[in-house]
Structures are given as structure tokens and as C-alpha cells.
């Protein structure tokens, strides 16, 4: 009962006055002594209630941060791993597709260049001939030119086919670059998760340090979209090909 001395110091005089007033039958002195005790007691009680409320708030905050963290660890992190693996696969696929197309186009361009060079050489040889004299000379010149004409005849359709193929390959290289958009969207979603994790951990540290201002969670508008489909991660019914979309829309009368 070490506190008795404190109680005596705080309330002793007042209790004596109260007792004396009571014995005297002095109502107003008695009540003013009671008021005094209440006034002494109230601020302490209030501060204790305040402290309790604060502790409760902190416990609730900690609980909300911890359940957020638990959810991130349980669901979001494995999802993020699957997303990033999907990104690796997509970039791998796109790079190989591009390299394939480049490897296939190179020889076509080379062949065209080589055959054009051979034709030029044949022309040069023909031009270097001495001038044709007389009917026989002209006949010989025509005969000498015939192989060049045949080479041109063979060259032109091949050059056209090769160039067209190269053009198609280039268009496919162009489309293959679409991976940057798709993987970019997926990586952006992982960055968002890392940010959220950073905030949750930061809040937890701040809470342990006594600060209690939590980072507000930003919610995207519902119209923002979910990003590209990631196998094993994206939930709900998704169209896996353009034909699914077309079928769905034609079912809606479009």
C-alpha cells in the first residue's frame, strides 16, 4: 500500500474538511469539498480514457496493416511471381520471333543483291563489247544480249517475291514489338504492388515508433481495367482469342 501516502497527500486535507463540514451540518462546505475531489479526479480519468482509446486505435491500425500484409504475402506475391514469369516468357517469345524473322529476311535480301550484282556485271561485259558493225555484227550483239535478257527474266519475279516476303516479315517484326505494351502493363501492376508493400511496411514501422498516420490506400476507378490476361492469375471469364470476342459481340447484336 505504498500509494496510501500519495492518497493522503492528495485527498487527506479535503476529506478532513468534508468530514468536518458533515459533522457541522455545513451543506455548502461539504458539497464544495465533494466538488473539489471530483475536479481533482476527472482530468486523470479523461487522460486515461484518452490513452486507452489511443492504444485501441493503434491495435486496430496494426491489425489492419498486418492483415493487409498477410493478404499481400499470401495472394499478391505469388501472383506477382507468376506475372513476372509470364513477362519473361513473353519477352523471350517476342525476341525469338523477331530474330527468326530477321534471320529469314537476311538471306532473301542477300540473294536479291547478289543476283542484281551479277546482272550488272553481265551488262558491263555486254557494254564493253566492240561496237557492232554490219548485219552480222548486230546479229552477234543480239545473241550476246540474249543471256542477259534471260537472266533479267529470271531475276525480276524472284526479286519481287523476295521483296514481298521481306515486307511481310517486317510487318511481323512490327507486330512482335507489341510485347512491350503488354509486358509494360504487367510490370506496372507489379510496381504498384511493391509500392503498396513499401507503404504497409513503412506504416508498421511508424506505428511501432508511436506515429499513427497511415498511408491512404489509392483505389483506381473501376473503369481503369485489369491489364493483360496472365495465365493462372487472372480470375473470371476471359476471352482467350479474338474469335471469343467476336462471338460474344455478335451475340449482343454487334
Amino acid at each position: 500500500m505504498a500509494n496510501v501516502s500519495v492518497l493522503k497527500r492528495e485527498y487527506g486535507a479535503c476529506l478532513e474538511a468534508m468530514n468536518a463540514a458533515f459533522l457541522r451540518g455545513d451543506e455548502s462546505a461539504f458539497l464544495s469539498a465533494v466538488d473539489h475531489i471530483v475536479q481533482t479526479r476527472t482530468p486523470k480519468m479523461l487522460s486515461e480514457i484518452r490513452k486507452l482509446t489511443g492504444d485501441l486505435q493503434q491495435a486496430l491500425d496494426r491489425f489492419s496493416i498486418e492483415s493487409r500484409l498477410a493478404d499481400i504475402a499470401e495472394n499478391e506475391i505469388p501472383g506477382a511471381r507468376a506475372r513476372l514469369t509470364h513477362v519473361i516468357n513473353m519477352t523471350d517469345e517476342a525476341a525469338h520471333r523477331t530474330l527468326d524473322l530477321v534471320e529469314r529476311s537476311g538471306p532473301l535480301a542477300e540473294r536479291t543483291a547478289r543476283e542484281a550484282a551479277a546482272l550488272l556485271e553481265a551488262f558491263d561485259t555486254y557494254r564493253a563489247r566492240p561496237p557492232a558493225v554490219g548485219f552480222e555484227g548486230v546479229a552477234r550483239a543480239v545473241e550476246a544480249f540474249l543471256p542477259v535478257v534471260r537472266s533479267i527474266e529470271a531475276f525480276l519475279p524472284a526479286a519481287r517475291a523476295d521483296s514481298e516476303q521481306i515486307r511481310r516479315n517486317l510487318a511481323d517484326v512490327l507486330l512482335a514489338q507489341g510485347y512491350q505494351d503488354l509486358t509494360g502493363q504487367i510490370i506496372r501492376s507489379v510496381i504498384k504492388l511493391v509500392e503498396e508493400l513499401e507503404h504497409a511496411l513503412g506504416d508498421l514501422t511508424a506505428l511501432s515508433g508511436g506515429r499513427s498516420e497511415l498511408t491512404p490506400i489509392e483505389n483506381n476507378p473501376s473503369s481503369a481495367g485489369y491489364g493483360p490476361v496472365v495465365p493462372g492469375v487472372t480470375k473470371g471469364e476471359v476471352a482467350s482469342a479474338q474469335t471469343d470476342v467476336d462471338a460474344l459481340l455478335s451475340g449482343l447484336g454487334m
Binding site: 507486330l175 512491350q180 502493363q185 476507378p221 473503369s223 481495367g225 485489369y226 476471352a239 479474338q242 459481340l249
Partner: protein
């Protein structure tokens, strides 16, 4: 159908805008302008007599779906042909886009043939 159509291509990824622009060029449409989200696209549409809008869905700022709703709500733009070109592939989203008034919906990754087919269909130039 005139090949002088003025296109606005809206996508937050510049690579995708270049791809679409190149494909449009290959199809003979050379009048192509770019914007990187709905917020920049809307005033451009309102100011500059465009004939065709191609938009992504998932963009920071104003998403494509909101852009389409804003376009349909603007009396001067309400009838503009709109093609959505997006990686968003959930069934509900496709329905939502249809209800918002898109004229076509193409999911990424897409092919040049798909793009041509949808453009032709929307412009009524199929088989021409």
C-alpha cells in the same frame, strides 16, 4: 471509301502507337495523330474533326472506357466510329465496352488481318 480519313490513336505505350500507325499506313491510311491517354485525346477530338478513334483501355489519367463514354456523350462526336484495341479481355468488360458504344473490339496481341477486318467492317468497306 476515302483513304484520307483522319485517325486518332490513343495508347499510353508509344511502341503500340507506332505499331498501329505503321499498320494504318500499310492499309493506306496516312493521316494518323497520336495521344497518350483519354485526358489528352478528348480535347483533340473536340477540336480537330477526326473521322476515326482507335483507343486502348488501360491508361493512367483517363481510361479508354471513360473516353468512349465522353465521346458518346458529346453531341458532335457521338457518331464517331470507335475501335477499342486493348489487352482487357474479361467477358464483363467486353460487354461494358459494347454498352458504352464501341463499334469494334480487338484484343491484344492482335494481327494485321484482324485490324484490317475490323476497320473494313466498321467503315463499310469490307470486300472493297
Amino acid at each position: 471509301m476515302s483513304k484520307d480519313l483522319k485517325f486518332l490513336v490513343v495508347d499510353d505505350f508509344s511502341t503500340m502507337r507506332r505499331i498501329i500507325k505503321n499498320l494504318l499506313h500499310d492499309l493506306g491510311y496516312s493521316n494518323v495523330t497520336e495521344a497518350d491517354d483519354g485526358k489528352t485525346a478528348l480535347p483533340m477530338l473536340q477540336a480537330g474533326n477526326f473521322d476515326f478513334l482507335i483507343t486502348d483501355w488501360n491508361m493512367p489519367g483517363m481510361p479508354g472506357l471513360d473516353l468512349i463514354k465522353a465521346v458518346r456523350a458529346d453531341a458532335r462526336l457521338a457518331k464517331m466510329p470507335v475501335l477499342m484495341l486493348t489487352a482487357e479481355a474479361k467477358r464483363d468488360q467486353i460487354i461494358e465496352a459494347a454498352q458504352a458504344g464501341v463499334n469494334g473490339y480487338v484484343i491484344k496481341p492482335f494481327t494485321a488481318e484482324t485490324l484490317k477486318e475490323k476497320l473494313d467492317k466498321i467503315l463499310g468497306t469490307a470486300g472493297k
